[in-house]
């Protein structure tokens, strides 16, 4: 059992991303790193913000870890994708997609105009990345 948002969950996610042929194919040209931020919203028992750093490079995840005061993210991360915990759960359930989530203001993306252009050309990769999160076995959502 791994708890969502824990270091173990992030490690499991990295394994699933690197095992996914569909993601590798969809993101074969992708170069860019993310902070995925989960904001507590009263859903479940999650009370503290969880931020994950993820460096994605040509269909693989080169590095991923839970951001802590001891292990902060690098400077100038290209994308910050943030949403409330309840919305992340909907995303994992497939009730909203990564783009539709932005359109519905359920998720906020912070990046430069140039990076937004790059992201809009990688929609399938984003979808496959979300699928990887659903492949982690035995997740406990607090």
């Amino acid at each position: 059992m791994v708890v969502y948002g824990s270091e173990e969950w992030v490690e499991a996610l990295m394994v699933k991303i690197n095992e996914s042929e569909a993601y590798e194919k969809a993101a074969k040209n992708w170069e860019g790193d993310f902070i995925f931020k989960t904001i507590p919203d009263g859903t479940g028992t999650l009370t503290e913000e969880a931020s994950i750093y993820c460096d994605l490079w040509h269909g693989k995840c080169r590095e991923a870890y839970l951001i802590t005061p001891e292990k902060p993210s690098p400077e100038n991360v290209e994308y910050i994708y943030a949403g409330k915990y309840g919305n992340w759960l909907k995303l994992f359930d497939g009730k909203i997609g990564p783009l539709k989530g932005i359109m519905q203001r359920k998720f906020d993306v912070k990046c430069s105009a140039r990076s937004m252009a790059k992201l809009m050309r990688a929609l399938k990769a984003a979808q496959e990345l979300v699928k990887c999160t659903t492949m982690i076995d035995d997740v406990e959502y607090p």
Binding site: L99, M103, V109, A113, M116, R121, L123
Partner: protein, 398 residues
């Protein structure tokens, strides 16, 4: 939370262009193409004369506008500082005008101002430029006069692709639908542009983002288009122009654009955008067949929605599955009746060209937003098969 975005005014019907003479503009910037400048621009100038507005004309828009031509127009906008942009033409012209506006407002971003448009960023276009956007479509198809997206060609890489960008501030302040402007439309364009609008109605209605508001517009638009496209097409064979029919088509194309702009397009347009760029096929020539493929691919997932479309136009069937199959048959019959191709081969794509481009074509199709909102999930392997069938015009059996 969801948005339904509309223009502030839709002026329609006979003599709708006269609305321009009632406005008080200081400087009007007209975006158009050389054909429209020659054929119909005098109709606009007559109306604007009454307002004493200064007029700048940018008439360099090609059939498939690039980011580079849009940037050129944006520079001219910055020099002339108009208080109204009038996009006068088909989808290419209106999409170009929509692209120029944010580039003008954010000159420091260059092409990124449009390429990196964040759908929810507060662009403050009107505040920054002191300008409004008026769209006057001269074809009945794209619906670009009321959409918040712009489709432009990016030829910066080896495989040209059509890329769509959007922000709701790009929705025009005013759209003017005067059927007189469709008088000279050749019948091939009545068919091709009409099928574009019909595909918007189908895609918008089947999209996973469809909603009550878009449904209302799209179902009626689908009916108006299905009935009136063949009538106008056959009338045009003999040179006849029935303005009541043309007005129905013109209105329906806008309704269709209005609807799908607030839901989304699906696989058909994802394919249409991509092959248009990669194989240099005009959108109006390829979108009908691409839509037919989208109906075939999605019939197992949303037969209830396809059946709604079938019932709207009086197609009969004992079940939703039978209605779907019958609509798909009728759709192919319509394409043939309108002399539109049903395969990539018929569109002039050779096997050599197909083999050379197909990998990047699939890559771009997968990353088109139409793939994400398609009701039946579609992956790389699915597109490999769809394109194989599409190359020969074979009916899908999976």
């Amino acid at each position: 939370m969801w948005d339904f975005t509309s223009p502030r005014k839709v002026i329609f019907g006979e003599d709708a262009l006269e609305y321009l003479s009632e406005k008080q503009f200081k400087h009007v910037f007209i975006v158009t193409d050389p054909v429209m400048r020659k054929l119909h621009l005098h109709l606009l100038e007559e109306q604007l004369k009454a307002t004493n507005a200064e007029i700048t004309i940018f008439d360099e828009i090609p059939g498939e506008p690039t980011l580079q031509i849009v940037q050129k127009g944006a520079k001219l906008l910055a020099e002339t500082k108009p208080d109204a942009i009038i996009a006068f033409g088909g989808g290419s012209v209106m999409d170009s005008a929509k692209g120029m506006w944010p580039m003008w407002a954010s000159p420091e971003d260059g092409i990124d101002a449009i390429e990196g448009l964040n759908p929810f960023e507060d662009l403050k276009l009107r505040e920054k430029t002191g300008c409004i956007l008026i769209n006057i479509p001269t074809t009945s198809g794209t619906g670009s006069d009321v959409t918040w997206a712009t489709v432009l060609t990016d030829n910066s890489s080896e495989t040209e692709r059509k890329a769509s960008f959007g922000n709701r501030e790009l929705v025009a302040d005013i759209t003017i639908l005067d059927p007189i402007l469709t008088k000279t439309l050749p019948r091939s364009l009545i068919a091709g542009a009409g099928l574009d609008a019909l595909s918007h109605a189908v895609g918008g209605y089947l999209s996973t983002w469809a909603n009550d508001f878009s449904d209302a517009l799209l179902l009626h638009a689908f009916k108006l288009l299905w009935i009136n496209i063949p009538i106008a097409y056959h009338q045009a064979e003999t040179g006849e122009v029935n303005f009541e029919i043309r007005e129905k088509l013109h209105n329906a194309a806008t309704m269709s654009g209005w609807g799908f702009s607030n839901s989304q397009i699906i696989l058909g347009h994802a394919i249409g955008h991509t092959i248009g760029g990669a194989f240099k096929i005009p959108h109006s020539r390829c979108i009908g067949a691409a839509c037919w493929y989208s109906l075939m691919y999605n019939k197992t997932s949303v037969s209830d929605r396809i059946a709604d479309l079938a019932r709207t136009i009086g197609i009969e069937g004992k079940s939703k599955e039978e209605l779907s199959v019958n609509l798909i048959k009728e759709f192919k019959r319509l394409l043939i009746e309108l002399n539109l191709p049903v395969s990539l081969q018929e569109m002039g794509v050779t096997k050599e060209k197909y083999d050379a481009e197909i990998e990047s074509v699939i890559d771009y199709t997968l990353n088109d937003s139409g793939t994400l909102s398609n009701p039946r999930p579609v992956d790389y392997e699915d597109y490999v098969k769809i394109y194989e069938y599409f190359f020969e015009g074979r009916e899908l059996d999976f």
